[in-house]
């Protein structure tokens, strides 16, 4: 018996979410390859340089917003169902959020892909940050709003399950997987308020032509109110996997349940007030608030450093149980031949590297050195593009068999895949970081200028370019392996009663050691709201006071 036999309804909805996620991953990944080849000048004839920005929008939206949101929804359906041992309360409601998210996604995708049709008025080459006054077709904004509303409903669904469970178990501690789901969604509610206000109050009326000017700074600030917390919305589900599944895959048990809870609380409290660290180079925001954002951002290092310790200790526990010894020799006893484990572990290693470039981004004045250079995509391809995406891919090798009741096929390919991703991403992001130090900008079709050249700190620019192109090609090959393995296993895998060992052992130091206050949801939400108010109330009030839409810039359609 595995998940699909115990919870067939949840399995169905989780699979539907995964299916959308993987399709988005396939298209977004292909776009990524074309961009890498275009930017580096390896192949400039696939798309025109103007279409590059349409493609870049598609890459960002499909991977950073669609792939992540749908995968996370599927993962959380699985986690809440199994840890509470109950299927969703009302399947009609569950399917309604899925369909709302899907319809929103399709609307936004149509708006973006319209940019490839000559003469089409449906265009959305505004990138996934959609800064006004550049204006996309209204379909794009309405689609984005629906995707967010659907995700809110999904969160409500999990809270409903939790409350129903609570009625039957008044004195029990919240099971860890449900706890992590609820806290991730609480953070999501706090941060999406910003983007929802931006899209619904400002951008939709403006894109429909009801107002004809817009203040560029206000929506940008509201976007970044959401825009960094969204990063943690992607990352926390990866932490969910590292805390609750990775210890088991290593052959051990979670080192400390209370530490996992504390980490999620800190993320809930601190994720949103950090948004200004994306606006260090913006005029119009006072240095004091930038400083406050820097302090909170760097404090957010703490939960990640705690996670590093707890997760590595859980892996060490597994290795030591398998006979590992010494300070470093135990690393060799970890199951490096298991695709699910290897993918998660490699994702974790890359996150450690991404953490470093993140510190540079977060530290107010040194940020200016790399602001809007290709260093920044170099950084988030380590964090979102690997720590999150590779964890999601790796854990799919363990989850998809449970959701389909079929064994994993092509295991050799599945094993090569995460190593190939790791290698390709090292090449690509290392080159991107170096390019950023040379001043090469991000988000540009052709970083070749006629009035000056870039100078690499060491080595040459052409070397950096080929490194990016080869890295991009390796990543694409790795992605094809992943999709092939999943497709084959999902539709052609051998049916089995127990396709994987899905038993998750209890934590070494379990919830019995965790103080009750950690489960006091109301307290932590109030604290989070208070910190957000400190960071945002004054600057936002100042920006709104001179008129919601002014100082107004004229509309510029893309």
């Amino acid at each position: 018996m595995t998940f699909i036999d115990n919870y067939p309804k949840s399995a169905k909805i989780a699979k539907a979410n995964f299916l959308v996620a993987f399709i988005a991953l396939a298209i977004g990944g292909l776009f990524g390859l074309i961009q890498a080849l275009h930017r580096t000048g390896w192949a400039r004839n696939i798309i025109s340089s103007a279409e590059y920005y349409t493609m870049l929008t598609g890459h960002g939206v499909l991977l950073a917003l669609v792939f992540t949101t749908f995968f996370i929804a599927g993962l959380f359906v699985w986690g809440v169902t199994r840890s509470l041992d109950r299927e969703p309360e009302n399947m009609a409601f569950s399917w309604s959020w899925f369909w709302i998210m899907l319809i929103g996604t399709l609307m936004a995708t149509v708006a973006i892909l319209g940019g490839f049709v000559e003469g089409s008025s449906i265009r959305a080459a505004v990138l996934y940050t959609f800064y006004p006054p550049m204006q996309a077709h209204p379909l794009f904004y309405i689609g984005a709003a629906l995707l967010i509303i659907g995700s809110w409903m999904a969160g409500a669904d999990w809270f409903r399950s939790y409350l129903a469970w609570r009625k039957e178990h008044p004195d029990e501690r919240i099971p860890l997987q449900t706890y992590m789901t609820l806290f991730t969604m609480l953070m999501w509610y706090v941060c999406t308020v910003g983007v929802a206000l931006e899209v619904v109050v400002l951008l939709i009326p403006w894109s429909l032509g009801w107002v004809n000017q817009i203040d560029p700074l206000l929506p940008r600030t509201l976007f970044w109110y959401f825009g960094h917390a969204v990063v943690y919305f992607w990352l926390l589900p990866a932490y969910f996997v590292w805390y609750s599944i990775l210890p088991k895959l290593s052959g051990g048990r979670l080192f400390s349940d209370s530490m996992a809870r504390i980490v999620f609380i800190i993320f809930l409290i601190l994720s949103t007030p950090v948004g200004y660290h994306h606006q260090y180079a913006d005029p119009g925001i006072t240095v004091g608030f930038k400083f406050y954002a820097m302090a909170t951002t760097l404090l957010l290092l703490l939960p990640s450093l705690l996670t590093l310790f707890t997760v590595v200790a859980s892996m060490e526990h597994g290795a030591k149980q398998r006979g590992g010894k010494g300070y470093f020799a135990w690393l060799g006893k970890l199951p490096w031949g298991e695709p699910a484990f290897a993918g998660c572990a490699l994702a974790g290693i890359m996150f450690a590297a991404g953490g470093f470039s993140g510190i540079i981004n977060a530290a107010m004045n040194i940020n200016i050195l790399v602001h809007n250079t290709i260093w920044v995509p170099g950084h988030f391809h380590l964090t979102v593009g690997t720590a999150v995406a590779l964890t999601f891919m790796a854990i799919s090798y363990w989850l998809v068999p449970q959701l389909t009741g079929r064994k994993l096929k092509n295991k050799t390919l599945a094993l090569i895949q995460p190593y190939l991703w790791f290698l390709g991403m090292t090449l690509m992001s290392n080159a991107m970081h170096r390019g950023g130090l040379a001043g090469i900008p991000r988000r540009t079709a052709e970083p070749n200028y006629s009035q000056f050249d870039f100078e690499a700190v060491f080595g040459t620019i052409s070397e950096i370019k080929w490194q990016i192109a080869i890295g991009g090609i390796l990543l694409t090959v790795s992605l094809v392996f992943f999709l092939w393995v999943i497709f084959n296993s999902w539709f052609r895998g051998e049916r089995a009663d127990k396709p994987v060992d899905d038993f998750i052992p209890a934590a070494l130091s379990g919830p019995e050691h965790a103080p009750k206050i950690l489960d006091n949801i109301k307290l932590w939400v109030l604290l989070a709201i208070a910190l957000v108010l400190i960071a945002y109330s004054v600057p936002l009030a100042e920006m709104v006071m001179d008129g919601l839409f002014s100082p107004g810039a004229p509309t510029i359609p893309v």
């Binding site: 103007a50 590059y52 031949g337 290693i349 090449l427 290392n430």
Partner: protein, 195 residues
Amino acid sequence: MDQVPQSSNQSDSNKWLVRILLIIGIGIPVLIELFTFSGLVSSHFFGEAPSATNDRRSETSAKENIPLVKQGDTLFSDTDYPLLVDTLRLEIYPDQWRFIMELKPLWKPNRERSEGVKLTFQNLVTQQQSLEENRVLVWTDNTLDEAEITWILPTGQRPQNAKVTYRSTRQDSLTGTLDIKRHFEFGHVPARYKQ
């Protein structure tokens, strides 16, 4: 669960695969990062000495001395009939990009010696294609009129170079017609958005 007994060969090959993957998949990345860091450090602390790094630095500052055609330049300044590039710009419309060049004689030609000049642009090369369209500009009378050529480019295309024939016909028939073929490279063409 019953296990099918495995031959030791299979688990050996799997072990080898894992070992190779670890060496390539993690070893190469570690080497890349080590090279990067040592490169950064050495370029800062030892980079000032006359070395390859230094040469590269001096060669790669802003481009100043490359003869690219830009606004304000004079073309065919070695002839009787030099032409001033009055305007050089890229106009960006949602569905097309237009490359506009306005040329103007620098001074009135010497009527006795020259009947005028005919300039033929045989093609215009962009990053992706070559537009094989003849564009002809003629100055025959005694004016300083400006002449304009517009190329309609597909969106996203920038002009890179053009092949031009310059023909001036002289009256004294000593030299008859003078044909000059030149290849122009365009540098940065300022772009403007139009709606």
